[in-house]
Structures are given as C-alpha cells and as structure tokens.
Amino acid sequence: MIYISWILIILMLILAVVSIQLKNLIAAVVAMGATSLIISLLFLLLQAPDVAMAEASIGAALTMIIYIIGVRETERSEK
C-alpha cells in the first residue's frame, strides 16, 4: 500500500515541475490541475475526505477554469 503514495508523490512532483517548465501556458495550467487532482488523492490517503473533496472540486476544477480563462484573455504561451 505504501507504494501508492510513493508513486503518487513522485508523479505529483514531476507534474509540478512540468507545469512550471512548459512554455505552453494552457498545458502548464492543465498540468497544475493534474497536480491538484493528485494532491486530492493524497488527501484521501491521509484520511481527510473533506479536504480531498474540496481540493478536487475547487483546487482542480474551478481554479483551473479560472486560469484557463485568464490565459485565454492574455497569451497562449510564455515567450
């Protein structure tokens, strides 16, 4: 069981690095959303279902949409 958390955390870190290194901002934002989703899984593993729900619905969904709208209104990619 403990490997699940190892795998998830490593995946989370990789996604985080990807999200700050990608030049395409939409892709970066999506990677960040995926990071949030993995964090919400980690919350579930940490026996925090309330926080997991909040992170999944707010951190992953709403925040990502807000970012996407923001990117749409500005520039698609980092120069």
Binding site: P49, D50, A52, S57, I58, A61, L62, I65, I66
Partner: protein, 237 residues
C-alpha cells in the same frame, strides 16, 4: 544563471530547515492536544458526527465567518476589476458554439450536479463534505452551463441576494447566540438530536447550508465575471 544558483541555494536551505524542523514531529505519530479534546467531546457538544464540520462551523466558526468574508471580498474584487476599472472594452469574440451532444448532455447533467452539491452540503455534518465542497460543486455546475451555452448569464441581482441572505443568516444566528444567557458567538442553541440523524447537531447544518449557498453564489459570480469577460463583453455592457 548566478541568480538561479543563488536562489537554488536559498531554496535548499529552506527545504533543509523544514526537514530539520519536522524531524521533531514524526509522521504518523499521535501529536494531538486540542484535536483530542474535539474528538472526545465533539459529538457530545455539537451533535455532529463529522468532527471536521464541528470544528469548521462550531468551534472555529468565527474563523469561518472571516474566511467567508475574504471570499466575498475576492468575488467583489473580481467584479470591480472587470466591470468598473476596465477601461478599454474589446469587441465581442466569436465563440464557436459547442456541439449538440455537449448542449443536451449538460442540460441533463446540470440538475443532477445541483442535486449532488445540495446533497453534499445538507449532509455536511454527517458525511465528508459540506458547504464549501457542495457550494463549489454547484458553482462548477454553473460553469458547465456557461460552457455549453455561451452567452447565458445568471442574474447578478439574484446571486447577490442569495449571497447576502446566506451571509445574514450566518451572522444573525451567531449574534443570537450572544443574546442568550450562555452568551457566545455561534452558540449552538437548537437541540442536538440523535447522532447520525439528518436533523441533528443544532444550528450546524443550517450554517453549513448558508455557507454552501454563499460559496456557490460567490464562485458562480466569479466564474460568471470571468466567462463574461471572455464572451459577452462589448455585446452587452
């Protein structure tokens, strides 16, 4: 490049310090003091089976009030930024209409999302979830609606009425507690009821429902402002 190296050293220091600092708090060991009290007495004192809820709404209810106010401030800030301060308004963009499947699907799913969100915040004191989660789920339902039908807008007046009423409920319930002889803000004056029954835990579900409405209205407002910024600017206002 030197900047990157220097800052990397800084960050390494920070991480190292965190590791050192948390060596004193080993992972997975019991280190509760206040939490233990809440776990042991929470059910008897608040009647809610979800202790997180009883902490959020009852023990630390005042913090939650402040937090909801921050949320309100942020929502108001977004609205102000986009509708008051924005000077150069742009032309209406051509949004490609979503396809038929998305439209019909969202029309079918939307009520269920609302129902699901409502379920989550009504059962906030019994199961995981509550006002924040349910509210944001409802807001994401509205988001779906915006995506499927670009150009639809929720009436701002109704949103602010809902939001204001919910906030007022929260504050008035809290203030009523001050008027009672026991006298504390958010005093739980209703009967606690039976554990794990829907109608239990006194004022906790009422407040969480109010929070749910407030969060839903505010996030829907934020999303509405944002979407409107993309879609309907220049056309309507």
């Amino acid at each position: 490049m030197i900047r990157k190296i220097v800052y990397s050293i800084f960050l390494a220091t920070i991480v190292l310090a965190l590791v050192m600092f948390f060596a004193a708090y080993p992972f997975g060991k019991n280190k509760m003091t206040v939490g233990e009290y809440y776990l042991n007495n929470g059910v008897a004192q608040t009647g809610a089976s979800n202790i997180v809820t009883s902490v959020v709404v009852d023990y630390r209810g005042f913090d939650t009030l402040g937090e909801v106010s921050v949320l309100f401030g942020a929502a108001a800030g977004v609205a102000i930024l986009f509708f008051v301060l924005a000077e150069n308004r742009r032309e209406r963009k051509n949004i490609t209409s979503p396809n038929f499947v998305v439209k019909v699907g969202s029309r079918i799913i939307f009520p269920f999302i609302l129902l699901f969100g409502t379920y989550i915040f009504i059962h906030g004191h019994l199961t995981p979830g509550g006002g924040f989660q349910g509210g944001s789920i409802i807001a994401s339902g509205f988001l779906l609606l915006y995506l499927a039908y670009p150009g639809t807008r929720v009436s701002r007046k109704k949103l602010s009425a809902v939001e204001g009423l919910a906030g007022l409920t929260f504050v008035l319930l809290g203030l009523y507690g001050l008027m009672l002889p026991e006298s504390s803000f958010l005093f739980n004056f209703l009967p606690k009821g039976q554990l794990n029954a829907l109608l239990s835990a006194g004022i906790l579900p009422i407040i969480y429902i109010a929070i749910g409405f407030k969060v839903a209205a505010e996030f829907a407002g934020i999303v509405d402002d944002m979407m409107c910024e993309v879609i309907c600017r220049g056309g309507e206002k």
